[in-house]
Symmetry: C2
Amino acid sequence: MISEKMQLLAKNGSAIRAMFEESKLMAAKYGKENVYDFSLGNPNTPAPESIRKAAIEILEQTDPVALHGYMSNVGYEDVRDRLAESLNRRFGMDLTRENLIMTVGAAGSLNVALKTILNPGEEVLLQAPYFGEYNNYISSFDGVPVVTPAKLPDFGLNLEAMERLITEKTKAVIINSPNNPTGVIYSETEIRALADLLRRKEAAFGHAIYLISDEPYREIVFGDHTVPYLPRYYENTFVGYSYSKSLSLPGERIGYLVVNPAMEDAAAVIGAAGVANRILGFVNAPSLFQKVIGHCVDEVGDMSLYIRNKEVLYKELTAMGYEMREPEGAFYMFPKALEADDKAFCAAAKRHRILIVPGSTFAGPGYFRLAFCVSEATVDHSLEGFAKLAKEYGK
Amino acid sequence: MISEKMQLLAKNGSAIRAMFEESKLMAAKYGKENVYDFSLGNPNTPAPESIRKAAIEILEQTDPVALHGYMSNVGYEDVRDRLAESLNRRFGMDLTRENLIMTVGAAGSLNVALKTILNPGEEVLLQAPYFGEYNNYISSFDGVPVVTPAKLPDFGLNLEAMERLITEKTKAVIINSPNNPTGVIYSETEIRALADLLRRKEAAFGHAIYLISDEPYREIVFGDHTVPYLPRYYENTFVGYSYSKSLSLPGERIGYLVVNPAMEDAAAVIGAAGVANRILGFVNAPSLFQKVIGHCVDEVGDMSLYIRNKEVLYKELTAMGYEMREPEGAFYMFPKALEADDKAFCAAAKRHRILIVPGSTFAGPGYFRLAFCVSEATVDHSLEGFAKLAKEYGK
């Protein structure tokens, strides 16, 4: 018999799977090109050609025993050296290989960080709306997710709510900027204020409160926006990074965790995090793709598709009467649903063969998430449906 | 501050790391060729050339969006189809893709299986000596490892002890054959008797008791020995497989989990296991190497190095007076230490620049583990040291 926890989780899992299956059924019925699936964050821009070249070159030139063998659980030293050098150059940091652990994507990074610090019953703050998987990660270590309400209408950091909800039990705050599902980038002013708040609370409660920055969308930024590098603003910061979006490698499960050298007990934390990487069953990040990253450390994929899609959708949808904060980064927008019940609204969209996700899935009821990491054609051909949908709601 | 659990685990982690560091220091001092490191299970035989070829071909011919993108959390359908076909052919099974989940190595498989079934406080039986990491995996889900004593002198299955130690709380038994650290393969007779015992206990306690077969060493078999395929003998069986040893790909983190179609609630279990793969942060097995496995589904690396090393070491060491059961598979032997204190014995070995692991690390005190997945030269040049060591103990 399945464990009690998993019975519940599998039920929710089936709901998402049902959506995935429905998309396939609709594609079979109407033709794939007539279904506008904005439900998944699966990049539609190819990995840069340099990735293919690097992978083939490494495969051709490296002794397979060395290439595919075990390395230290924290990853290859040369790869971590190159990565540290790149991050130091880009963000004015002073990292060494000792501050970096290669991980099985950002999901791996977050699990390693949480395993390292969480005792049962300790609380982790999440600002709504947020990526629902955080709940599962926190629960895996018997932590308690505490949701701080969204700051409306623009989804900035709600520091008043955090001030109220940080307690003696608070061990960490997860921040995701550029944000899934809103596309918001937190400004330097917001980050400074957050750092001040956390330092004040650390002093009041007499223990560290960790900031965990989940950054898979760091390289997807529109216009002149910049994404502050959190370790520069707050000592007790972990950064979980993934190449899933910046290099379109989500299936390869490659990323890294930064432990800020300024963190309290940094050496002990990184030691424990390396052990966590092993005992969680990751063991190490996939070896070939560690080496590929080492070769392509400053590479970013072509993000022009996302920029273009954002421009078209933001302009057209707002003209139709949809309301939203213009996305500043990532490949999501989070407009208001045209009726209070976001699930009913997404069901109505489905009749126009548009697949979008109810905001309540992200603890953001009354909104919907639109993932625009799709082809130009999907965007362009969906507009008629979005317009008809708006008209049905009297826009 | 690091979590209480991790403080303890990191301390043990550092002990292993210390051994690893010492090996590097010794290599620097005496020259790498003069240090005989039998401490790690890191394959020394290269991945077959077909792996390199398949990887390059796939990289050259596949659209990167499809190759590196997300697939279903359980893995690519075509890969699971080919794998099911191969397992059916080899083991007379009747598997479909629905019974298979591609995983981040066997470590991934075991964690997925345990997450799927374990409620807090439920017990998992391990027969000593065993791979110590099982303790961590079980503890991750608040399960309780219950160690059944070794059957001496030959490390066969100790069914009398299991009979006594299986309780109402027993949820699973982990079996590892060919075994790390003993090199023993459990015979068909032993497996039948185990299946009978478990069925009897299931009936007595009125709930499923799962057999989890950890099989990274299945393809490394000496002489005429065969490894029974456990799902053929017992309904409620999971098989965790890894290509780390059979194809020398430990760094790539690729393996699979079989959910026996005859298992109670098999469909629900596989659904939950797919969700577990996602929420544990694995998300999916690395995509390129899934495809490589699909191309090389019947491939096995050249195991002749291990066969040769086993022959030499078994013959020479027994002639020197070391006592052991002759390994039947895997690349480990587990001889008696020449004094009661296995840690002191391994320290004595170190003076001959021989690195071996105390049996107590595997809950097998009084023995030592020798991993012979090393070069021929390491084996041959170590013999003088082993002989001197034996003489020191009056052999």
